[in-house]
Symmetry: C2
Amino acid sequence: MRDAYFDQLDSIVDDLVAMTYEVQHAVREATKALLTADADIAEKVISDDAAIDAARERIEARSFELLALQQPVAKDLRMLVAALRMVADLERMGDLSVHVAKVARLRVPATAVPEELVPTIERMATVAEKMVGTVAGIIAERDVDGARQLEEDDEEMDSLRRSSFRLMLDDSWPHGVEPAVDIALLGRYYERIADHAVSLARRVVYLVTGKTVSALEL
Amino acid sequence: MRDAYFDQLDSIVDDLVAMTYEVQHAVREATKALLTADADIAEKVISDDAAIDAARERIEARSFELLALQQPVAKDLRMLVAALRMVADLERMGDLSVHVAKVARLRVPATAVPEELVPTIERMATVAEKMVGTVAGIIAERDVDGARQLEEDDEEMDSLRRSSFRLMLDDSWPHGVEPAVDIALLGRYYERIADHAVSLARRVVYLVTGKTVSALEL
């Protein structure tokens, strides 16, 4: 009985990792739709989000079943409650990718991102996608050190966002209101993806060490 | 022992309700700071958020303790796991109020909201604040019918947001990029507060009825 139980715990971790890679794929494809003004890719990101929602439901149901049937204590209890929260973060990251894809779709055949902002948005997207990949590794390997990298990436994300505001709010901004509003919201979506990645990593750190990230002085 | 346990469950519900009213206060004060360009009120919303974060930690710790010590099953287990998620929603709503307050603070002594958008933003804020109040009632009374009202309020929020975009993206918009970016982000913050309210209400519906909101055909 206990062996089957540990197998089930392991398989929840595997499912979380797989779901994280699905989210990473959504971030990557949403960005591709955005930068190439490709409506088909945008549509696919939007419709594929149902699979991410389904993964959430599946992992929730199984975590719940284990909680109710096995009455775990201490570390296993913490792990299952953390899994319930992590799937919520991951589902939101999927939703945020859908938001990016919807901005892309709204502006087709034009692209939502003016040329001088392409490097900034491209870098935000790369950082976000990389952070999601790092999270997958952190969950799979319980790699507490990976969390340190995420905090650095998150700082780069903040600085990219500030630089996008500087460009848009400069007197020489030639594109008017609509692209500025798009960029402000896109920046917010990528920043939130990064925030959720940091939050996921912190949960793993807490699970593994029983300490918060700040206590580890990352 | 079991009596003390039920008292503790009740007291978690009481704490959730109190935390919801704290969030409602934050939404109200952030809006006041925004519409009156009052830096002191904005600062207070920002610093008071620590109390909302502390409430989250307190409720989490107690829910966890009950989970670990009492090994609840079925409905009580669902209730505790739901509490853990609800505090996460509530904390985010507090953060979103802080974001509103920070936009207000950034533009003092001016107001971030151009005159012709004041009615729209004021209404968004009123709807958001009312929705948070409704959530408090839903949690306190396990009032499933209240959830129906929230879905309607959420539709009004979406329509207000669309109307703010129409104003900003119209050729006659005279205010340039900065206020448009502020309004786009403010609209997003209020919309997210509304989304979290709906999500909280749905959790209560599920707790009380074992059914999702869509299954109830609200």
